[in-house]
Symmetry: C2
């Protein structure tokens, strides 16, 4: 639990509470913790934002190139999604974006915007620190990676002339694919928040922030880019279990993901078949499948490391570290 604001902060917070956005009568601002705690939480907020934006871009790609939806149809889909479980600011503005006309050409503005994504660095910092604290944040990492990759437009154009892929047209039922896509997106969203929150939790211990994760979820419910209906579920999860190590271990949220895993698997399979890049849907699925497995093939990696570098391994049946003289075999 936070030890309370440092001296002088209480007045600042009292003012902010009056002017800040409110959700369910509660202000979307609070004292978070010691030192750089507030900056850190804002950094991870942005990392999550990168993940959600790339997930949305992947749904756009599947509907545009896979299903051939035009911008009016895309506007309709995202406008509908605004009123479902994925209700969020980013879905909201995505719906608006597809209905916006370009003043210069009169066509849809989205189609004259160059497909090279910029960044200010906060996503990169999130991935950096996640690597340093050894907290897996694959959906965020792949979102940062895709912004970088989008910038290689010249190389991409050159590659597109020699490296042909499959036909991107989806042959199955459109309506059911769109429904599956929404479920896959929601699962991916939960996984992105789960990764970000796990990072904040680890950072709180490592950097002595004394963060209250329920408070983080509470203030994110309004006034920020990643506000979403889902954040109330996150708040309740941390209220029920303040020490929750990962949101996937919260029974209600775990069930939400589990109930959508079949659709997430299908979307990954469809995109793989059509040649549409969905690194964040894939990373979300891989994260889910790795996290929920009591056994992983990392024993082979330990064997290899011991084989070539005598890095030693641990055993399943005995404490300590062990080395095998493999090459004498």
């Amino acid at each position: 639990m936070p030890s309370g604001p440092e001296e002088g902060y209480d007045r600042v917070i009292a003012i902010l509470e009056k002017v800040a956005a409110q959700v369910q009568g509660e202000p979307c601002v609070t004292y978070l913790g010691r030192g750089s705690a507030g900056h850190y939480v804002k950094m991870v907020h942005n990392g999550i934002e990168y993940g959600l934006m790339q997930l949305l871009a992947e749904t756009y790609d599947i509907m545009k190139r896979g299903l051939g939806l035009n911008n009016e149809e895309l506007h309709e889909v995202y406008s509908h999604w605004k009123y479902t479980e994925i209700s969020s600011y980013l879905v909201d503005i995505t719906a608006n974006i597809f209905s916006r006309k370009d003043e210069k050409t009169g066509t849809a503005l989205i189609d004259v915007i160059l497909d090279e994504a910029g960044q200010k660095g906060t996503g990169k910092w999130t991935s950096w620190d996640a690597l340093d604290l050894q907290v897996p944040t694959p959906t965020i990492d792949m979102a940062v990676m895709m912004r970088d990759l989008s910038g290689y437009k010249t190389e991409r154009k050159a590659a597109s002339e020699t490296l042909a892929g499959p036909d991107t047209t989806y042959k199955g039922d459109r309506a059911s694919l769109i429904d599956q896509l929404k479920h896959a997106l929601y699962a991916g969203m939960i996984m992105t928040y789960a990764q970000g929150m796990a990072l904040i939790k680890r950072a709180s211990t490592t950097y002595d922030y004394h963060l209250d994760l329920e408070a983080v979820a509470r203030i994110w419910r309004g006034g920020c880019i990643i506000r979403a209906a889902l954040l109330e579920d996150l708040r309740i999860a941390f209220k029920s279990h303040p020490g929750l190590p990962n949101l996937l271990l919260d029974p209600p949220l775990g069930r939400e993901v589990q109930g959508r895993q079949a659709d997430l698997r299908s979307m990954v399979q469809v995109a793989a078949a059509l040649g549409l890049p969905v690194p964040c849907l894939m990373a979300s699925l891989a994260y889910f499948d790795a996290y929920r497995n009591g056994w992983l093939p990392a024993n082979l990696i330990q064997a290899q490391r011991d084989y070539f570098g005598a890095h030693a391994y641990r055993r399943t049946d005995e404490a300590g570290t062990f080395h095998t003289a493999w090459v004498e075999d």
Copy 2:
């Protein structure tokens, strides 16, 4: 081209050339470039190593849990693979690992090794610097992530009790799946080297290393962990086109990947269906599909960034940066 060793280095290199491993009569050691050039190349070598090891672990998982192969059968498969296009030191030692008996229990040693992978940090440094230089290295990033995730054994065990996945048993033809898996692995290997080499190329410019990529490929052919038959193809690629921005743009290597893309897609689909985590196969496929696409949905990300943060965007039809007053819409 390297400007030549700094004073005093020439004698050291002459000695190393005599004692180092040789491939086709050429020593596997050379002066690489200015300043920290040699250390940097070794760091990326290790990043590639992380990628290759995780890719191998994923093939192990698919054959163990998907096909139910025992250690003797796994030994046979990897022993066969040693003599195919994926011939490499890591495949070689993997074959040996599966035939090794544990002295204490008399069972296969691989089965008593704990599935938590350690690391010394070189993979993390590679991902860090790739993020900083904005060079996409998703296969390497996901390999580092999976080592971190493997360490969450307690959480994984807890999650395995509540988050059930699909039946991991593959129902199709075993022999053809193993063949597809080998092709997918080879494609993933090429993608891993392509990412690492692209990073080295960018670093050479940024840090003024004056690296010769053909020389890097040449010395990696022997005496190091990532030595592989494939490295001669890399060397030839950089000899043919010293300025090659990415190995996927080398016509022969591009064809090798393209000819195996169907198998890579199938393996991602199979693993997704069976609930087996294959983040590196997935990241390799996403990298391929993103890199070879002249258009990506990053225009949506730019629209979102301009919508919520007035970060501006570029247009497809006009130079400069532009901002739209979205909220007035």
